[in-house]
């Protein structure tokens, strides 16, 4: 069990790190998909089957597509503009800040005595139970999420849609 978790962690972290340091945006997007798939595998490992498949459907199926489309739609006209790190200085600053956060978090995790140390049997949460929970105590949140998704869908369409009105500059 633990070995599988470690392997998964290496896969997730490795693909995330490589993805976010590549210069080729398409490659990084595809690697991130691998990372998301790894996270889905982690959910499977933890016994959250439904969430794993939802993660697969949403991230691997939908968000990756949106990202890839966005990358293709915003490709720079000229290749002269560098797309890598804005500057080494900024990268180092970010690394220092991020490393600090990582240190704090890791220290906190390692330093906290956890009461639950022995893992119990994998809890069974059937789809029916999840559905009952969603429609019962969490129905307001479900409704709000529905509204949010509708609004964001409309918003995304409005934002990304071509404007038909041409500004005078464009015609020059």
């Amino acid at each position: 069990m633990t070995l599988a978790l470690i392997l998964l962690s290496v896969l997730i972290l490795g693909s995330a790190i490589v993805a976010l340091s590549l210069r080729n945006l398409i490659h990084s997007a595809l690697l991130l998909v691998a990372c998301w798939a790894g996270i889905a595998a982690f959910y499977l490992w933890a016994g959250a089957e439904f969430v794993a498949f939802a993660q697969g459907l949403v991230y691997v199926g939908a968000i990756s597509m949106v990202v890839l489309f966005a990358v293709l739609l915003t490709r720079q006209g000229t290749a002269s503009e560098p797309l890598g790190f804005a500057s080494w200085q900024r990268f180092i600053l970010a690394l220092v800040a991020g490393g600090g956060v990582a240190g704090i978090l890791v220290g906190a995790v390692l330093g906290t005595p956890l009461t639950v140390t022995t893992p119990g049997p994998v809890p069974v949460l059937t789809v029916k139970q999840i559905g009952a929970q969603l429609m019962g105590p969490h129905v307001v949140a479900l409704l709000v999420v529905g509204i949010l998704l509708t609004v964001s869908l409309l918003g995304a369409v409005v934002l990304a849609a071509e404007e038909n009105v041409k500004s005078p500059e464009d015609e020059v």
Partner: protein, 420 residues
Amino acid sequence: MSAYAMAVAGSEPFLERAPLLLRDAFVQLLPAPTQWLVHHLITIVAILAVFGLFFAFTTIAERKLLGRLQNRRGPNRTGVPQFSILPWRFKHTLFGLSQPFADAVKALTKEDIVPAAADKLLHFLAPVLVVAFSLLTFAVLPFGRNLIPVELDSALLYFFAAGSATELTIFMAGWASRNKYSLLAAMRALAQVISYELPLMLSVVPVVLVAGSLSTREIALAQGGWTFGIIPHWNVFTPWGFAGFLLFLVAALAESNRSPFDLPEAESELVAGHLTEYSGFKYALFFMAEYFGLTALSGLGITIFLGGWQAPVPFLGFVPSYAWFMLKLVGMIGFFIWVRGTLLRLRIDQLTRLAWQFIVPLALINLLNAAFWSLTRDWTGALQLVRWVISAAIVVGPFVLLGRKLNAGRAPRTYRYATS
């Protein structure tokens, strides 16, 4: 494993248990620690072998059937290869049934051309992944009463999650070719696949609503039984199920890029779209994945609308369930081929208009219909008739209205032919 235990207990006829018994007999021979692995490997191998062969014969069946639909005979020449070392000559051509193997040999021995500027890694990965992803979906289909590779509680969700992963490979193929036409075609294909994924899922949701489960096993089981001993309780024999099945068929056709929705490939117009830069075995892999996808979608359609592995009439119950499944699968594939031989390719604007103005609204209305159906579950007697009439009205009314609106100002068309 409850189904498995039941099968071993011998409450079912021998034929029904035969595959499991065969597997167990083999697994017993091996040392205990490897049994678990071998158990699963056998399942995988069985799926690969059965559906690999099924794919092979689907190609020849498609070619022969298309021929018949067009008053031709189709390929009927390729028989047994004539090796000179053999002492005798087998003269019969076997109706050309060995054509797929000849094709496979040809595809394997063809030169594999990779464009110089291509992204070599992705160009290689795309066909590999597309086959892998399309095979994933077979894991949750109940091929028979006891033949479910993986029993999942949320099997339908898994099916669509795995199915949507193939979109990535389309993109990879188009992008890795470093050919602007391939890329554009990949974008078109993606747009089509994504926009038909919505109606596909929406047409499945009513079944989930009525069956109250995402598990394919439960859904197939729920369709057992007969009314008056003759009409099976399949979902397709209810008004909403019939409508849902038709919507599912259309969406599945579009989702698997088959005629009349094959415009991303459009081999006669676009030199195969995003597969332009693929040749030889890689192309064959894409071809294979396409057929696997079609087979998996047909299997899903059978499971959720056509009663899964259930026999259509009670007195034929002795035929093993997996045989029924395969028969239905052959029927579905045959129907798809029939449609391909009949209908013309759509234009992209017609395709999207059909999706958004017709299929999606109808699927939503059908969802309401299913809700009505499951709310009125306890209506009996004359009320049962009322239930049917109302449900049928909810199907037919919107269909006629929306159909009229879809055709408004467009029909009848006038065609002009070249005069001879």
